[in-house]
Amino acid sequence: MAPLLNWYDFDPFHDLYHWLDKHVESWVVYLVAAVIGSAGILTFVGLGALVNVWLERRLIGRIQVRRGPNRVGPFGLVQPVADAIKLIQKEVLQPDAADSRLFNLPPIIVFIPAMLTFAVFAWAPDLVLANLDAGVLYLLAISSITALAIFIAGWSSNNKYALLGAMRVIAMMISYEVPMVMCFLAPVLLAGTMSVAGLVQWQQHHFLLAAFVPMSVLIYGLSATAELNRTPADIAEAESEIVAGYHTEYSGMKFGLFYAVELINSLAVSGIMASLFFGGWWLFGVEKVIPAWIIFILKIYFFYFGLIWLRGTLPRFRIDQLMGLAWKMLLPLALINVAVIATEVLIWQEADLGGWVLAPYAVVNIALTAALVVVFFRIVTARFYRLPTRVILVRDIQVPALPAPASSALRPPTPLPQ
């Protein structure tokens, strides 16, 4: 088995690295590693975008009691290719009054953060393209670039719907960055590192962070849908309201790029979720049997499935409700979360307790999260359950006595002239 395991464990790359390290300058090693790693990530992302098109359409079809694409190739598997060919063939329109220099930029810019996110993921124990010291902060920083690209798209289209979409994105991004930073703080505090690989390693030694910081998982899950513009937070491209939001004026492959980036970003967010809270490549020792990177990809797709499920299930929030959710619900919860975790870490370190203390922490945190979420949820939704959600049934016509209409409505009949 061992030689078979070798090639897909990427061990030859390790050997290559060590061999290069002995023979050439360090920056050449760095360059080679960067090129190979980027190529690998680009391959994964490119394939992922294609797979996701099929997966998303197929699964949404399942959710919606229909079949989804099933004509092109077996199970419709070649459908993404057909889609891409169609999009490439379409005419790329550009509005006359668009800011043409800016108009062509966003489809390219949105790709940058989507791709960059994958650089810090730990795909396997020693397989990190860029093990950044401030990896978590890096994830947050580059995610803000997406919103800028979307803003440029909305602004340069010179379309009112697009501008509305862009304004919504900017407002939403500012709001959701705050709870997101806060919810990342908790695992960072607990693990004592900001590197994504470090967080995964910590989880390998202890347990899934999701058990200790369940609140962060919830907050990140919600913020991520907002960050991704997927339902229930797809207000930036809300089809029924502002047509297609910021990409209303993009057609052909320019739209295709936006579409692909949305799918890639979904993968990226799933990857963040998997690495930060659900152990990355680590899975209770299974990673010794199955290559770790396969476990990681499976985890990514598990959370991606969750995103598809959400999209197939939920209606959309209104923009002010979404803002309210961020500021009034997620931010207080995140602050409470950080306070609790900080206290726990303090007790853990000051009292010099062993690793066993994490077990009661997990219990306490899960219970606290459940209680807080239920309480907040009750408070927020009480307004909607003020009235029953079922109708009144009456047997017969009954028109209630109404307040007398305004004087102009009822005039005495004018007598006919004699």
């Binding site: 949404i60 959710i63 919606q64 009691v65 229909r66 009112k160 719907y161 509305l164 919504r168 339902t231 229930p232 797809d234 207000i235 809300a238 089809e239 029924s240 309201e241 502002i242 047509v243 999209r311 197939g312 299930t313 939920l314 209606p315 959309r316 929030f317 209104r318 923009i319 002010d320 409700q321 949820f377 927020v380 939704t381 307004r383 909607f384 359950y385 009235l387 029953p388 959600t389 079922r390 109708v391 009144i392 049934l393 009456v394 047997r395 017969d396 016509i397 009954q398 028109v399 209630p400 109404l402 307040p403 209409p405 409505a409």
Partner: protein, 368 residues
Amino acid sequence: MTELRTPPYVVNIGPQHPSTHGVFRVKATLDGERIIDAEMVLGYLHRSMEKLAEERTFTQNIPFTDRMDYLAAMTGNLGYCLAVEKLAGIEVPERAQYLRVIFAELQRIASHCMANGTFVNDCGAWQTPLMYMFRERERILDLFEMTCGARLTTNYMRIGGVSFDVPDEFYPAVNSLMAEMPDRIAEYEGLTLDNEILLARARDIGVLRPDVAINSSATGPLLRGSGIAWDVRKADPYCVYDRMEFDIPIGRNGDCFDRFIVRMEEMRQSVRIIKQALEQLPAGPVNVPLPLALKPPPGEAYARIESPKGELGFYLVSDGGPTPYRWHVRSPSYINLTVLKDMVVGLSIADAIVSLGSIDINVGEIDR
């Protein structure tokens, strides 16, 4: 957002917009996202039906009624045929009357499925509720197809009865559908009514006060959602509705959500009516022989029915000739739409779309 004044700007919602349910335009003046003025612009689908009808015989005019509310062709046919029968004094056989009730109610279920599905779509769901409701609408359309050969523009009701009797395979199909339907409706309700996001989007949005509703002569689920128990089937029974037992669902608050749940419950009541009608369905002819060129005596007639959208009225004037002298439609979509401006001013775009969806308009009927 309202305090921070931004320059107001005008957004044309429509005529090409995913949520205007056809080609119709709301010229909305926005302050940020808030609508400070809204102006409906109609007429993009105007086909001059009322004038064209004056050049055609009474029978030839039936297909026009299909194409008014193309999502509820049966009720359009029915209203027109009732008016002509009233004008010409034609007695309709009893079996035809029952069949009319059955198909009108099936059409109501189909139309409400569409209305509620698109309403949840307008609230931002990604087609899922619509697809669920289409599943049953599809089966109803299959019933139409096996009876009269058409699914959408049925042209089924004829003056003096209906065009065809139902085939034998109709009964098992309709019975199984009606047996399933309450569960299906419960499924829709389970999927939507307790969804907090839907509640947040539709509760207290687009509230139509009962007095405003009456003063603006709103009808149908729009009026009933505002808490007024008014139904033409009860108030002025036509066909055999007086023999049917059913309840009128009314809302409490008059908001978008109330209209939504009123439609949900109306589907259930329609199932009840269909079950009763199927039980009571007598044998006999389904239409009466009529001359090819029907010449009603000079006079006028107004017949009204409860279409899925509201009170659908046909006002016909005959001068004794083979063509109507005047052919006028009181279309519920058009009159219900007039309250939209009162509803949406002060709301955000998102709410305006939800309010529009909750009125359940059909542009074919608005513009005629």
